[in-house]
């Protein structure tokens, strides 16, 4: 916000720029420049053989290779994207639903939960443990002869050869559950903050008009929660599409090879990037760029869906008026 002292006073406007400069410098150096470099590298073909690397310009060939369009190449990117989306969607739909529910209960004055302080702590606790530890813990618990499976087997609830680690849906659902369990607390707290910003007199007005709980939720809470919900969804999309640490440690092949078992069905796109980066940097860069584009598209879809129509239309009308007045 620029403060202008008129009539020969000192202009403090430039000081504001100085304050925000460090962030922008750091962003340009460490985020924007690498982003541009990645675009650049994706147009080259790297061949590393016996420690000797040759770099050759190949235009869009990397993209054609990973999308399976080129001759003799498989669409690995699409397969891994499918895996990632499957794990992410199965996680984020229940996550946001449960977060909305808990947030609604904790901010509702009728349920005697007070400020809900202790519940917020409990709900957030899974997030403070590192993802790597959680992943290994769940693997140890759910492995074929681990405690949970052995107990279920001795109770006769599951067959003698059933094994989550060799089942595609077993592994994917477990990964979705781990992600859900880790992040629902975060979403809940954000939605609670959002809900507290809603004027309670609106609920009272709705009560007077005879609205049911569900109608209050859908007609009052959700529309007014749109900005916060948009933030939750976009950050969940970014985090989910870039999922790496949990599947990379949960059920993978030997020797740290980033192959998500069983049969490569729990490999995510970022695991693929890490797998490629040592041998073919150009291809890894192409995968990163495609992932960026997909994340961008999904985020734009969310932005469009959660756009505040009235505000958007009034802004658009104001712009048209200004343009009309100028001509």
């Amino acid at each position: 916000m620029k403060k202008k002292k008129t009539k020969g006073g000192v202009n403090y406007g430039k000081h504001g720029l100085l304050f925000i400069a460090p962030f922008f410098i750091a962003y340009l150096l460490f985020s924007f420049w690498p982003l541009l470099s990645t675009f650049y590298y994706s147009f080259f073909e790297y061949v590393t053989r016996n420690l000797h690397t040759t770099v050759k310009f190949c235009g869009l060939q990397n993209y054609l290779n990973i999308l399976g369009i080129a001759d003799g190449e498989r669409a690995y990117f699409l397969t891994y994207l499918g895996n990632t989306l499957r794990i992410w969607i199965l996680n984020f739909v229940p996550q946001v639903a449960l977060a909305l529910l808990i947030a609604a209960w904790l901010t509702n004055t009728r349920t005697r939960l007070g400020r809900g302080g202790i519940y917020k702590v409990l709900v957030y606790m899974p997030n403070i443990i590192t993802a790597a530890s959680i992943s290994l813990l769940f693997y140890a618990l759910l492995s074929k002869f681990g405690p949970i499976m052995s107990t279920l087997r001795s109770w006769g609830l599951i067959g003698a050869t059933s094994d989550i680690m060799t089942s595609k849906w077993g592994t994917s659902l477990t990964l979705s559950f781990i992600l859900f369990w880790m992040w629902y607390g975060n979403s809940t707290l954000l939605l609670i903050a959002g809900m507290m910003g809603i004027n309670p007199s609106l609920y009272e007005a709705a009560d007077i008009d005879g609205a049911s709980g569900w109608q209050k939720f859908t007609r009052v809470t959700i529309p007014l929660l749109k900005p916060v919900l948009l933030y939750v969804l976009v950050t969940s999309a970014i985090g989910g599409l870039q999922l790496y640490d949990i599947p990379a440690l949960f059920n993978t092949g030997n020797g740290g090879s980033l192959i998500g078992l069983p049969d490569d069905t729990s490999t995510t796109v970022t695991m693929y990037i890490m797998r490629l980066h040592a041998s073919d940097t150009g291809r890894a860069a192409a995968v990163s760029v495609l992932l960026f584009i997909i994340t961008l598209i999904i985020s734009l879809i969310f932005f469009r869906a959660f756009r505040d129509d009235k505000e958007y239309k009034s802004l658009r009308a104001a712009r048209r008026r200004r343009r009309g007045a100028r001509t």
């Binding site: 073909e45 061949v47 053989r49 016996n50 420690l51 000797h52 290779n65 003799g72 190449e73 498989r74 690995y76 202790i118 790597a132 290994l136 140890a140 492995s143 074929k144 002869f145 681990g146 405690p147 052995s150 003698a160 050869t161 094994d163 060799t166 640490d245 990379a248 440690l249 092949g253 030997n254 020797g255 740290g256 090879s257 192959i259 078992l261 069983p262 049969d263 490569d264 797998r275 490629l276 040592a278 041998s279 073919d280 291809r283």
Partner: protein, 463 residues
Amino acid sequence: MKKLFALFLAVVMTLCLLAGCGKTETPAPTTEETKSEETTEKKIPENTVTGDPNAKDAFVVWGWNTDFVTILEKVLPKYLSVDELSRVVFVNAGGSDYYQDKIDEILADPSNALYPDIMLLEVGYVQKYVQSDYLQDVSTLGITKDDLADMYSYNLDLGTNAAGATKALFWQATPGCLQLRADLAEKYLGTTDAAALQEKLNTWDKVAAVAKQVNEASGGKVKLLSGYDDLKYIFANGARTQAWYDKNDTLVVDDAMKQYMELSKTLYTDQSTFNTNMWGTEWAALKDGDGVNTEACIAFCGCPWYTYWCLTNTWSSNCILIQGPQAFYWGGTGLAATAKCSDTALAGKILRYTACDDQAMIDINSANGDFVNNKTAIAYIEANGSGTTSTFKCYNDQSIVSFFADKCEGINAKLAKGEDQKICEGLFPVAVTSYANGSADMNTAISNFKASVHDMYSYLKVG
């Protein structure tokens, strides 16, 4: 209300602490294997540097564990002068999973103070470096063909490049075997005589049949093998007659590997293994099962370092070594001097006394129990006993050194390639599993495998 809840949480926490101390009947998977612990450490460990790398005449050696340090401290002082020893700087990269990444980085940076003069290499990837320009031919270090005469030939092949120049020398020999648990062998195979057991398990058909029979006899509690994944080195490092790709860089799946896939499918369909993966927690737990309340396995794939250091107490005086259907090699560490080595004379000396000199290699065995790559030394150790600090003994005092002494013949290591490790340990097991559990037929599994190798190494063609 809040106070009650806080008290409840405190009690739950204390109980959790105490539960960890209690005795557990079920064998919780013990991670005794250092390999599996290394893979859980996802944070890349720092290099540990002993010695002063900034000294003018510093001589830098790179490794990933303390094996070489034992040699440096206990054996080389007898053959190198104090001055020469004090120049040696040892850099421990922290683990074999990170070693290649770190060393590749530093090889590209010759001006770095830690640029390696000598580097340690493992069989899985030694060819990658031997075929590159980064290593020196040992003949330029003063090591002659005579010096190399006492080595087991398969080790020489592993350290030699396509042009015939030997660049890496191995001080360890690692011929493979099958290790059988004597008590379970007695119960389910009816004998503890090594020759009789070898007769029972000397072809793959017999192995599959015996596995099925053991499974049925024990009601599923005891099986012959822990998983078909255990057999991968026997086929990849022993039975193959063709390398993973030919001279036109076209990928080849050798008949032996197809036989491995068929065997895995048979074992899977008969349910005669536990389908574990090597170095996993379940695989480790199966070594210690008692066969009655908890699951156990009779046979594990092995080699000298495995027998000495990786078998648990359950196997002490309870282990029978047999060759099994095929001779093979498994692992082994060697060293090589880099092309930009700062002192070829010292490098030559270190290589000579670590990998060539008979007496030095006897000393190495005394110091760390390695099965050394020297026929004369092994003959001596066989006659006079090994100095290894490992207290492991086999059933009936079967001599471990005598057993392994002749198991190095007949190993063909000329097929090794730099990409072997990633192919054999990462990509091929996926194909084997998908064929074994029926989710793909043979042609699809092989074509998927070739596509994944081509994806990782784009210069290898699917053909």
